[in-house]
């Protein structure tokens, strides 16, 4: 049995009322969802609440999952992402909501990133080892716009492929690639700034 079949079976058992199957699903996915939420929301408390919400939503809608329409992981990611959007609506107000939902043109295209970059900072390799550095990276990630943040999280932290990300975010693959590259570049710019101040 491959992974998809195993998951499909688990989902069927779960929909049939098997509590052990549900626990298996939770065990398999909580770590990943927690990490997405943590990197997106920025702090453990929110991450925990959001993860719990994701599973409550999953539990209620598991019977709507259709394995023919895509991988379970993508389905789970979609639920997670939608809740993250909701979380933003609540916590940041409507301004950011617009930014999440509407075409990404506005601020993404306002100025080519390369023009915003004044100079080159230290190469990342010199720093990636330290825990402090990772904390800087995590903080810088929080400063990215939500749509860039979610894109780089799914690609560079969760290692999802572009097609899966496009499905989860409901945008074309080209847009996904563009956001990922913008997100990476902007993060580098923020960190270079940070290092100029710190070092």
């Amino acid at each position: 049995m491959d992974e998809a079949q195993v998951v499909g079976l688990l989902v069927r058992r779960c929909v049939g009322g098997d509590a052990a199957a549900w626990e298996e699903i939770v065990q398999r996915h909580h770590r990943r969802i927690y990490n997405i939420c943590y990197r997106f929301a920025g702090d453990p408390d929110n991450a925990q609440d959001l993860t719990q919400e994701v599973f409550i939503k999953m539990y209620r809608t598991l019977n709507t999952y259709d394995s023919g329409k895509g991988a379970f992981m993508t389905w789970v990611t979609t639920i997670t992402r939608n809740l993250l959007v909701d979380h933003f609506r609540k916590s940041k107000g409507d301004r950011l909501t617009d930014s999440m939902d509407s075409a990404p043109s506005e601020h993404e295209d306002a100025q080519p990133l390369s023009e915003q970059i004044a100079d080159r900072g230290l190469p990342p390799d010199a720093h990636v080892q330290s825990r402090e550095t990772r904390e800087f990276v995590h903080q810088a990630l929080q400063k990215l716009s939500p749509e860039l943040r979610e894109a780089v999280i799914l690609r560079d932290l969760q290692d999802m492929d572009y097609r899966e990300i496009a499905t989860a975010l409901r945008v074309p693959e080209g847009t996904v690639k563009s956001r990922i590259n913008r997100g990476r570049a902007e993060l580098a710019r923020l960190l270079q700034r940070t290092y100029r101040q710190v070092i």
Binding site: A19, H30, Q52, F55, Y59, R60, K177, A185, Q192
Partner: protein, 250 residues
């Protein structure tokens, strides 16, 4: 061959190829054209460097450890039970796992009193009698050692207990009540024993009965965290995992 002349490709095409280039998937002429443009273009060159650096920063982030109680909380928030894993080997009998768990719990804490648990009324009566008796002894100045020797565990009662084990699920409310009674009695015992401040220590209980565990276990139950979730997890109504789950999914 579009990559051979000049810098090979324009800025737009460079951006199109950026993702593949960063991931090392460009080959041949396309790669050459891309590299040529990167070297000479004052916009695309730095952009590439940033994208690459950002990717490295991001990939330096390690997976974080979820809180230990997260799974428990999720299960409690969805199915209402903290875990099915401690239990059970028979997946089809949805009530069996809970019964098993309850039996373990029962065995470890309330064995001596369990024999009395035949029906709710009886538990109430027993509890009240026992409580009153203990109070009376206490008030009458009976020595603590005497109180401690009150034998709650005659063999005959243990037989009854064994017969009744399977009915545990129905009676857990009563068990809880007996718990409270036992706790109260224990408090009285302690109060009557001022010269023994370390009364909680298991070995100090002078019982010679092999099942002299209840008193120390009672302490565990009321003071140690590990026992709290068990009580807290007991639903108000007899648990019916399957039914609950079905209802939620429909």
């Amino acid at each position: 061959m579009p990559g051979e002349n000049q810098h090979g490709i324009g800025c737009t095409e460079f951006e199109t190829l950026l993702t593949e280039a960063i991931e090392g998937q460009l080959t041949g002429a396309r790669k050459e054209g891309f590299e040529a443009h990167r070297r000479v273009c004052s916009v695309c060159g730095p952009l590439f460097a940033d994208v690459q650096a950002g990717q490295q920063w991001l990939r330096s982030l390690e997976e974080v450890e979820p809180p230990a109680h997260l799974v428990h909380n999720i299960l409690a928030a969805t199915t209402g039970i903290s875990s099915t894993r401690v239990l059970a080997t028979t997946p089809d009998a949805s009530t069996t796992p809970f019964g098993e768990r309850l039996r373990e719990w029962w065995d470890s804490f309330v064995t001596p009193v369990a024999g009395f648990v035949r029906q709710p009324r009886f538990v109430m009566s027993f509890g009240m009698i026992f409580f009153s008796f203990s109070l009376a002894l206490n008030a009458a100045g009976v020595k603590p050692s005497d109180v401690a020797k009150i034998d709650l565990r005659p063999k005959a009662l243990r037989h009854t207990y064994n017969d009744l084990q399977i009915q545990v699920v129905k009676y857990y409310d009563n068990i809880r009540f007996v718990y409270e009674i036992e706790s109260k009695v224990r408090e009285i015992k302690r109060a009557a024993r001022p010269a023994e401040p370390a009364a909680e220590q298991p070995k100090q209980n002078p019982k010679n009965n092999t099942s002299g565990q209840p008193d120390q276990r009672q302490d565990r139950n009321y003071s140690r965290d590990e026992n709290q979730p068990v009580l807290a997890a007991l639903p108000d109504a007899p648990p019916a995992v399957k039914g609950t789950t079905n209802r939620r999914f429909v």
